[in-house]
Amino acid sequence: MPRPDLSALQIDSAIVHDVPARRVHADSGAPVFSEIDSELTQELRIYFREKIGTSLGHAAFEVGFDPGATSPVPRLVTSLFDGTAPDIVQPSKDMARHLYDSQTGVNPPGLLTAIKGSLEGRGALAILKLEREDGVRVLQGERNGLPTFDIQAIHDLMLTQKTKVFKVGLFLQPAKERDPIEGLVSDKQRGYVPTSEVADFFLRRFLGCVLRLAPEVMTRRLFDAAEKFINESVQPPEKKAKYQLALMAELGSQDAEFRPRGFAERHLDVRHRQPFIDALTAEQVPDNVVRKDTKLVESHLRKLRMDFESGVLVVVPPGAVGEQVEVEELDDGRTHVDIKDKLRAIGGKR
């Protein structure tokens, strides 16, 4: 799916429903529904657009509806696009009810917000699960006849400036009638393994979506593209080794996601960052986030391998580089690998 220009999202209407936490053995109440959409100023339309764009820009996965999903959301979204639903009210209430019913004790309460609009000539629907935030505000006033600022606690803020990434799914009406509905979904980064119930609640259970691209395939594609870039576009050799080790370390870490732009900023020189992203994009690897599954690259992450023109092969555990193994470039363009370690065994290659 070509990435749409989210700055062009035009917002027509928005509606908010309050979805409390669901306590199995307590009377926690039911959702509080709106029966009409909220009034929106131009300032609010722009604000929502910016927040949605930022969240999806940082952390969106391409998704499609799961044909086997029990969630009613795919049907409700379809009804808004095909005109079956006259407006956003009933479908969004049904979504809020479904959110409440499918939550367990670990899911926090929230505000289910549905935003209808258009993007690049196609109908668009954004579904947000937002949490109330606390803050304080100051109002000029008087106390004991003297000027002061009244400080007031606020408990019903929503989507503040500091919130960069939140739960949002943006679905686009297909350009052609028989095409499937495409979407982008972002969620707060949790660092859990992908199969966690909490991590996948919003995407799978609530929205009824699946990732369009299998994580193990995308991880393999990412690894191959990154390695190709390091080998073909990076000099000198010690820089190659540094980048390769960083790639292996991040892919082998416990984080459920790999963020290419963040990786580039943390590990690559400035001059290599954009070319690295361009190299990934050329292989259709997203530049913002990849859901990790290292099944297909596991064996490549255990050791660092250096092949030389003479046929010499050096295989190094990542942790040994900089310790027992040093890599440096010589003036004549050759690479010097220095190994200082106790020799354990030597023999013919098997």
């Binding site: 220009d5 989210l6 700055s7 062009a8 131009q42 300032e43 722009i46 910016e50 764009g53 930022t54 999806l56 820009g57 940082h58 732009r261 580039a264 900023e265 400035v270 001059r271 960052r273 954009q274 992203i277 913002n288």
Partner: protein, 322 residues
């Protein structure tokens, strides 16, 4: 000698065709100007179709009986700021038009002679440009390529020297030749001054700002803070590496051409929004361009000079996550 009936026929046929020649002259000027500017060369253009009265007078003077005999029915000019841009502009003219004839006026001068130094062409639209070809056929437009000084001399000399059968008095001729020499010295000095200014601090940023200002004003017609622009540009210009001011401007201009609708929409929607104080500044066009091309270097350069939150705000407006 051309007859009265031939002049009448000429008048009628040219009056009918003149709108086409006017459009041709405008088209040639526009195509030449855009192609040359896209190469990072600043230029102005002018165009005109010969008016009917002038054409008839020329026909009487030269004895032209038919329209096809009159050579400069349509005329366009490309006026360059710097003389050292002429070779590149000459090359561009050869690529974007069918050149029917070319006359480099300097070639006819011996080393001890001074005179007009422009290049004149007879051009028509290329065969590959189907729409233009359908509209203008193979009609020829006279295109003149010269510098600002040469343009001034061309205008003045037309008045001073237009006595084909008489030479000026010796003293007057000497004055005129000194003026021509001065024109050449002017062009050379401008190029030399530019090279000197290039290495002076702030010049590159000021030159970039000059180009951005023009684009910005066309889109917004807003006042802006020049000092703030120079402060920001001091941080951003290094993000373009070794590119000079013209190259940077050319790159931003091309970006604005491609994304003009989106930029105009943003300026329109955020017109009264106080949350993004940096938005209505000319350098924002450059920020937008870098956000698409290389946000990493932009971010790296920016945070040496200004709070990152300001850049994040602009990125949010453009629809890019930093």
């Amino acid at each position: 000698m051309v007859s009265a009936s031939e002049l009448q026929a000429l008048r009628e046929s040219y009056a009918a065709e003149r709108p086409v020649y006017e459009a041709l002259a405008g088209h040639i000027a526009e195509v030449a100007g855009e192609a040359i500017r896209r190469a990072g060369i600043y230029c102005r253009t002018e165009s005109r179709a010969k008016d009917v009265a002038s054409l008839i007078k020329k026909a009487i003077r030269k004895g032209y009986a038919g329209l096809e005999e009159v050579p400069d029915r349509a005329g366009a000019r490309v006026i360059l700021a710097f003389a050292d841009s002429v070779p590149a502009a000459d090359d561009i003219v050869g690529r974007v038009f069918e050149v029917r004839w070319r006359e480099d006026k300097s070639q006819g001068l011996s080393p001890d002679q001074f005179g007009y130094l422009g290049i004149h062409y007879g051009v028509s639209v290329r065969q590959e440009d189907r729409d233009a070809r359908d509209r203008f056929g193979d009609r020829v437009c006279e295109l003149q390529l010269h510098t600002t000084a040469q343009r001034a001399w061309a205008d003045v000399s037309h008045e001073l020297l237009y006595k084909p059968d008489a030479s000026p008095e010796r003293d007057v001729a000497r004055v005129l030749y000194r003026l021509m020499a001065l024109m050449e010295v002017f062009d050379e000095s401008v190029v030399r001054a530019r090279e000197t200014l290039k290495v002076m601090p702030d010049w590159k940023e000021a030159a970039v700002l000059g180009g951005l200002e023009q684009l910005f004003l066309v889109m917004t017609a807003r006042e802006f803070d020049r000092e703030l622009s120079l402060t920001v540009l001091r941080a951003l210009v290094p993000a373009y590496g070794d590119e000079d001011a013209h190259q940077i401007e050319s790159r931003v201009r091309e970006f604005v051409n491609l994304n003009g609708a989106k930029i105009e929409r943003i300026f329109r929607e955020y017109g009264d929004d106080l949350r993004h104080p940096m938005l209505f500044q000319p350098e924002t066009l450059l920020v937008f361009e870098r956000l698409e091309a290389d946000p990493f270097t932009l971010k790296d350069q920016w945070q040496h000079v200004l709070p990152l939150e300001l850049l994040e705000g602009t990125a949010e407006v453009w629809g890019v996550a930093l």
